[in-house]
């Protein structure tokens, strides 16, 4: 009976569909999922937007050695260095990056900068929602990439080495 055969076949197929309805979904729920990643799932090693790290005193780890810029295959890192002074201490060494820009228009997230960094200052985070309506907004500045400062210090705080060594909360930026 061809009709019965057909019905049987359809029933078998629909039964698989019906069974699958109770299986967990395979589709990623981005952008409606929970958490900061909004349902996106990444491996730990995923190379997203850069994060400029701070050391245990909250000072910037970057010493403006330009090695990341030298290693960058797409020339997307622009740095201007400046010297730390007693009143304006930004990084742990003699020098800090006054300007640190990454041009995400060109960046290929290859991780060479992270590999080249002698102080482990630049790392890849998992930031991925970078798309923009305007290409010039894709040039990220140091302030946007810097890791959040320890709570008692305030974002982008300028530190006084003596105070930090004495365990006191560091001085915030003048005028902030």
């Amino acid at each position: 009976m061809p009709v019965l055969k057909n019905i049987k076949a359809i029933a078998k197929g629909m039964s698989i569909t019906f069974m699958e309805m109770f299986q967990p979904t395979q589709v990623e729920n981005y952008p409606d999922g929970p958490g900061p990643l909004r349902g996106a799932r990444f491996e730990e090693r995923y190379r997203g937007m850069h994060v400029l790290q701070r050391d245990e005193n909250g000072l910037e780890k970057c010493v403006a050695c330009f090695l990341c810029a030298a290693a960058c295959p797409s020339n997307c890192i622009y740095i201007e260095a400046a010297e730390n002074t007693e009143t304006n201490r930004v990084s742990g060494a003699e020098r800090y990056a006054k300007v640190y820009n990454i041009d995400y228009n060109r960046c290929i997230f290859c991780g060479y900068c992270v590999e080249a960094c002698p102080t482990d200052a630049i790392t890849h985070g998992h930031g991925f929602e970078l798309a923009s309506f305007n290409a010039s907004n894709l040039i990220y500045r140091k302030e946007q990439m810097l890791a959040a400062a320890p709570a008692h210090m305030g974002a982008n705080a300028v530190f006084n080495s003596a105070d930090v060594a004495g365990g006191a909360p560091a001085l915030p930026v003048q005028g902030s």
Binding site: C65, A81, A93
Partner: protein, 783 residues
């Protein structure tokens, strides 16, 4: 010296006897590493990096102190040698901080290179490194003690090379440290040679430190714009907010006439270019106030007023500069004669080149190059103080005496520092340099004026005889000898076999400005305006009457006769100390970098580029022609060359007749690359609008270089050599008849080591050095 033959790594080498093994190997292309060895400095044998195996010698020998001998068999690279060198690196790194990412020398550090070559980057020491804080020895010299590897190069270059002896070694053995001889600071000429020569980052420059890394910069070889010596300087430039910023000056590649020498001005005083007071927009006086305007407006106004005044036979004066390039000086000279139709052209004269040209006319090979000063067997220096005013010349003389045993005869009214090198120093009463020339030339009566207690008639006689007996004497004289005295001195020189002359002028292109005819009575090449000749044929319609000199222009302005004054890179009000309101009835146009006294009183001020920001050529005081390459850039400025052409165009003059562009050799002076890229495009817009062919721009100095080569005597140099960055000597032998002018028009700049006219006024580096000194500096000329 006879040659000896030796074998290095199985290769047969021949070298003159007395050559050091390290040098013999280098010339054969075998590299032997070293820290402490430096050519032309005394031998130290401190670093032990140059150890080589020499047969029949029980231990490894230092190649830098071993002299080659006949039949010597050397192995420069085997396991034993490599092991020894590796141990040396390991020991040097024992207390050397591994802060390469922060260190200024990172990327151009010799210790880094050696560690890469020989290994030993991992230390066997467990102990913490001995840290010492960084010291500041002077505003421009910083010392980081743990980084020092005790090669003693700085000590030797400061003492032997500069004859300053400001650095020394304290303590002995492992506790040796390099330290200034004056406790905690340097009392020296701040030349920065110690920083330059330091193989590691122990000595760092206050102007450059922590700003960038070596590989981040573009390096542009150009000519220093400060004194008249024409040192080649390699400027490190990098991008900045307002164009290209110069961050470093040095000459590590040892090219050019100065080898690796630079004085404080060449090494640090480029920062005037980024002074906040720098003009970056044309200013036009409206209702008595200088207000910012755009370029078109400014050129239109200048063109209209200049044309009006010229057509109504009003008097126009042109003041040129000693810091503009040859091309610009030539163009300005031509512009005044051909477009403004006036001979009222002058510049700040600091030496009497017309008199020298007149005296040397028809005498080939009678001017010395800067290189010859280093090689000459004997030097006679009359007047001037090269240590202060011509640091390179002083370096050449000093090292000639030290290395070649040259005899230096010094005749000066003051005791100058070069006296320490002199074979004979003769002090004379001030202002009697002319008498010295006369006496040397054979006028025995002149000796009366120069006899002092110390120097009797016999002393003078002996000196004259000695000088007459010299061969290849280089006679160097300052601005004290001028007018007729120059001819007299040349007369003495013609009696000495192979004598050559150097006339010392104070600014970077004083010689060029003179050669290019920024004189009221002389055309380029010292041709008189009154004589008919090739310039009359080429330029057509040159006014035949002699024009006004600068003081005469001032007098004309006082009498309200001077209707317009065109000042290109000069500051006559400041320099001559004139009444600022003197030119109130005159239409004054000033091309300047800063609002100087003259610019402040001008009707139109055009922001000019300096010598580091344009291409062209400079002729140094000896007559060595060298190429300038554009390094820095400040938005909103234009080169003087471009501005002159644009003004001529605004006056309705056919630019083709001023600048013969579109014909002749097409050369790329670097506009298609690096800092200069885009230049040609920007010119093209202006050209297109005027229906001119964009093949070669009239705003490009090369356009007029053909004409200079063709018309100016002595400038028939090889273009390919010039473009390759070599120095070429220009002679005065075929110049026009020259002229004896009023000697009082020559005013020496009186700059010292730490001042440089307007440029020095706006240089923070020079200021910081001046402020750190207690000594009072002399009053300085203003441009």
């Amino acid at each position: 010296m006879p040659d000896v033959t030796l074998t290095v790594d199985g290769k047969k080498l021949t070298a003159p006897a007395g050559t050091l093994l390290i040098e013999a190997c280098k010339s054969a292309g075998i590299e032997i590493p070293s820290f402490c060895y430096y050519p032309n400095l005394s031998l130290q044998g401190a670093c032990r990096m140059c150890l080589v195996k020499i047969e029949k010698m029980p231990k490894l020998q230092t190649a830098c102190t071993t002299v080659v001998t006949e039949g010597m068999i050397v192995t420069s690279d085997n396991e034993e040698v490599r092991q020894a060198r590796k141990s040396m690196v390991e020991l040097l790194l024992g207390n050397h901080p591994l802060d390469c990412p922060v260190c200024d020398a990172g990327g151009e550090c010799e210790l880094q290179d050696m560690t890469f070559s020989y290994g030993a980057a991992e230390s066997k020491y467990m102990e913490a490194k001995n840290h010492k804080d960084e010291q500041q020895w002077s505003p421009v010299v910083f010392f980081d003690r743990p980084r020092c590897i005790l090669c003693y190069r700085c000590v030797r270059v400061c003492g032997e090379g500069m004859d300053v002896w400001a650095l020394g070694v304290q303590n002995r053995g492992v506790s040796s440290i390099i330290a200034p001889n004056k406790e905690d600071h340097l009392e020296c000429e701040e030349c920065g040679m110690c920083i330059d020569i330091c193989p590691v980052g122990a000595l760092t420059s206050g102007a450059y430190r922590y700003k960038t890394r070596p590989w981040e910069m573009k390096h542009v070889g150009t000519i220093c714009t400060h004194c008249g010596d024409g040192c080649k300087t390699t400027l490190g430039v990098r991008r900045s907010d307002s164009g290209m910023e110069i961050v470093r000056g040095d000459n590590r590649d040892k090219s050019g006439i100065n080898n690796d020498f630079l004085c404080i001005k060449g090494r640090y005083a480029f920062d005037f270019a980024h002074h906040p007071d720098r003009l970056m927009q044309p200013l036009i006086r409206k209702n008595g106030k200088l207000t910012p305007a755009n370029w078109e407006e400014a050129f239109e106004l200048i063109g209209k007023r200049f044309a009006e005044i010229r057509d109504h036979d009003g008097m126009i004066g042109v003041v040129g500069s000693s810091r503009i390039t040859n091309e610009e000086a030539y163009l300005l000279s031509k512009f005044a004669r051909v477009v403004l139709k006036t001979n009222n052209v002058d510049h700040h004269r600091t030496a009497d080149f017309p008199a020298l040209a007149a005296a040397l006319s028809g005498k080939p090979d009678s001017t010395a190059t800067m290189r010859e000063v280093y090689d000459a067997p004997a030097i006679l220096l009359i007047g001037n103080n090269p240590t202060d005013q011509h640091p390179l010349l002083a370096w050449q003389i000093r090292n000639n005496v030290r290395l070649h045993r040259s005899r230096l005869y010094l005749i000066n009214s003051q005791t100058i520092k070069l006296g320490r090198q002199a074979a004979g120093f003769t002090q004379i009463p001030a202002g009697t340099e002319g008498k010295v020339a006369a006496y040397l030339a054979g006028d025995d009566a002149a000796v009366e004026a120069i006899i002092t207690e110390k120097n009797s008639r016999e002393t003078w006689n002996a000196l004259r005889e000695k000088l007459r007996g010299e061969q290849k004497l280089v006679i160097i004289f300052g601005s004290e000898i001028r007018g007729n005295d120059v001819a007299v001195l040349v007369k003495f020189g013609s009696g000495v076999h192979g004598a050559k002359f150097v006339c010392l002028a104070d600014y970077a292109n004083s010689r060029g400005a003179a050669d290019m005819g920024l004189y009221p009575d002389l055309l380029p090449g010292y041709h008189r305006v009154a004589d008919t000749g090739k310039f009359h044929d080429e330029w057509t319609s040159i006014p035949a009457t002699t024009g006004l000199t600068l003081p005469e222009m001032v007098d004309a302005a006082k009498a309200s006769k001077l209707k317009a004054l065109y000042v290109v890179g000069a500051n006559p009000i400041g320099r001559l100390g004139l009444d600022p309101f003197l030119f109130s009835k005159t239409f004054v146009v000033v091309q300047e970098m800063f609002l100087t006294e003259t610019a402040f009183m001008a009707d139109v001020v055009l922001p000019a580029a300096n010598a580091y920001e344009k291409s062209g050529t400079f002729t140094n005081t000896c007559g060595d022609l060298q190429i300038l390459k554009k390094a820095g850039e400040v938005t909103g400025t234009k080169s003087d060359f471009e501005m002159i052409v644009r003004i001529a165009d605004a006056m309705g003059f056919d630019v083709h007749k001023l600048v013969p562009f579109g014909a002749g050799e097409r050369t790329d002076m670097g506009q298609s690359r690096g800092a200069q890229s885009g230049e040609a495009d920007r010119h093209a817009v202006w050209l297109e609008a005027r229906g001119l062919e964009p093949k070669m721009s009239p705003l490009e100095p090369t356009a007029i270089l053909d004409e200079i080569q063709r018309l100016v005597p002595g400038y028939d140099f090889s273009r390919i050599n010039l473009l390759a960055g070599n120095d070429q000597h220009t002679t005065l032998a075929n110049s026009g008849p020259g002229a004896i002018q009023k000697p009082e028009l020559i005013v020496p700049a009186n700059d010292n080591l730490f001042s440089s006219g307007t440029l020095g006024r706006y240089s923070k580096a020079l200021h910081s050095v001046m402020e750190s000194r207690t000594q009072q500096t002399s009053e300085v000329a203003a441009d």
